[in-house]
Symmetry: C2
Subunit: 331 residues, 2 copies
């Protein structure tokens, strides 16, 4: 019931933008545009810097597709900042009809999934764009970075980055295709540890993957990669255990964008990267090129999001999570 077939949704372009720590990581030379300095992108607030990243990413992806903003029918945009103002001010100047999303760190997958639906069914050319900025996120959810608060071993580093993708019904040589999508259910992890997002998100990722495999009748071996958004070291290990308990061993083909983006040990990133921008940048800089180069034939991308705000845990709530899945093919 849940799997949505998308027969003509081609990811005809993508463009990634990131900060200096991301530049220093293993994907640094594959990210399209990196800030080599203070990560302010020429702006006077972190929130405006994040908007500027979205603007650069959106413009870059539209340019890479060889089209103009007026050729884009709809944007699906989102970020982590209160009321998604990074997206508002980021893509406003493009004048594209916009559908605002909130799925926490799962928003990248959510935006690609909706872009694929609008591409395949409504025959729209869609832009999917998301972002996060370490400094805007940290001061909103935890402490301003200037406080130099100690971080726990399970904590993750919110990625300073944004990426945009153009999804189109027009087939292009070499453009990977979104073949299917599955929207996630909200899972209640029972955890309330704001410094362990991986543990909060692992149950949703496991639920969505198991639902997909069960309903599609496919096995993990049918996919060259099963890539989660930002579970990090702690969350990835929990995810593999939970999926195993549900009857699937995906350990040999699992990867996590939160572990891809930094050299976690050398860069002292504790449990890895996180944020809306994490999976967006890694999808754009690593996995789409692998699909385009036929290095891998197909993959599942499972965006993961922790659903809380700076107040909700203090009010006695746990941290629920959600995970959205898109299946991608190289042909």
């Amino acid at each position: 019931m849940g799997i949505i077939k998308t027969d003509s949704s081609y990811m005809i372009s993508s463009y990634s933008v990131a900060g200096s720590l991301e530049k220093a990581g293993p994907l640094g030379d594959k990210i399209d545009f990196c800030e080599d300095g203070d990560d302010a992108f020429g702006k006077d607030t972190w929130e405006k810097a994040e908007s500027e990243m979205q603007r650069l990413a959106a413009t870059g992806a539209i340019g890479a597709a060889g089209i103009a903003p007026r050729d884009v029918d709809v944007a699906f945009s989102g970020d982590l900042i209160n009321q998604c103002i990074a997206s508002t001010h980021g893509i406003m100047s493009l004048g594209i009809p916009d559908c605002g999303l909130f799925g926490a760190c799962s928003t990248c997958a959510e935006s690609i999934l909706l872009g694929a639906v609008f591409s395949s069914y409504v025959k729209n050319t869609a832009l999917a764009v998301t972002s996060s900025h370490n400094c805007s996120a940290e001061r909103q959810f935890r402490f301003p970075v200037e406080y130099a608060a100690l971080r726990t071993p399970t904590s993750q580093w919110t990625v300073t980055g944004s990426a945009a993708f153009v999804v189109s019904p027009d087939k292009r040589d070499g453009a990977p295709r979104v073949t299917e999508g599955l929207l996630g259910r909200i899972a209640d992890s029972g955890t309330d540890d704001l410094n362990n997002m991986g543990a909060a998100m692992a149950p949703a990722a496991a639920d969505t993957l198991a639902r997909y495999l069960k309903e599609s009748g496919k096995s993990p071996a049918d996919f060259d990669r099963i890539v989660t958004g930002d579970l990090g070291a702690e969350g990835s290990s929990l995810f593999l255990e939970l999926v195993y308990a549900l009857g699937y061993d995906v350990s040999s083909r699992h990867a996590d964008c939160g572990l891809d983006i930094y050299d976690t040990e050398r860069q002292d990133m504790h449990s890895g990267g996180s944020g809306c921008g994490c999976s967006a940048v890694v999808m754009s800089a690593k996995y789409l090129p692998m699909l385009r180069g036929k290095e891998i034939k197909n993959m599942l991308f499972i965006g993961t999001g922790a659903l809380m705000n700076a107040m909700s845990v203090g009010q006695g709530n746990t941290i629920p999570s959600i995970a959205h899945l898109v299946a991608l093919s190289s042909d």
Copy 2:
């Protein structure tokens, strides 16, 4: 290019929940469930009260459709609280795959539009649910209500309310139909007055309506009602002027949910009601019944949203806005 045709999207049920001031307004006896007391809905925080309204509205709409939560393929949910936690905790227990949205006060129209797209194209049964709570919104965006801050004449009262709609591809006798939708572009009003949301939102509403009329070739006379979400008195007057300047006189058929929900003068509501819950409750309690009863044959519903957070204006930003349109027909 922009108008999305939705040929089989029936609004088979709706259910509205609201607080005591809304109960005391002109729609009081048409709202399905009203709190007759402290608007806490049995909870110990305003945010939890808002979630409880969403839970009641979603459950009520699903029940009114004669189906169970497991029969709903997808939920489109959203609210005004940081990171949309009212929706998360409101609909989590239903176990429905969820697509989180953020469109500020336009989210009700956005959710119905996406529900209609998924209904018509993916053949999904969709739930569209949104909410706002006066006390959770005021303390987040302005001041806690206990401060009794003075309100300006242009200020609006955030509605305590939630409504849910089931949109299904299965035709039902008397169920109004979503015939078309148009996603809005982000408009920059140039205003930065946090106490005048109507002025911020009017340009987006005018842009969306004019785009729709131009592209469809229809005239205002083709619709029995043209209903905006929550422009209030100030915003409605600006909207009519802007639309007139664009070549259309809609004054004789325009109504605004923000002016429908309260007896503005008697209840001392200044410029009227606002919030995600405002248009949701009024659509459910007033306009859908008018369509069902063939009192009106068709209408346009233009949800309006102001895109800012508690910090963005302080950082020197204006308040951009967005407006999404759905066209509804009684047959």
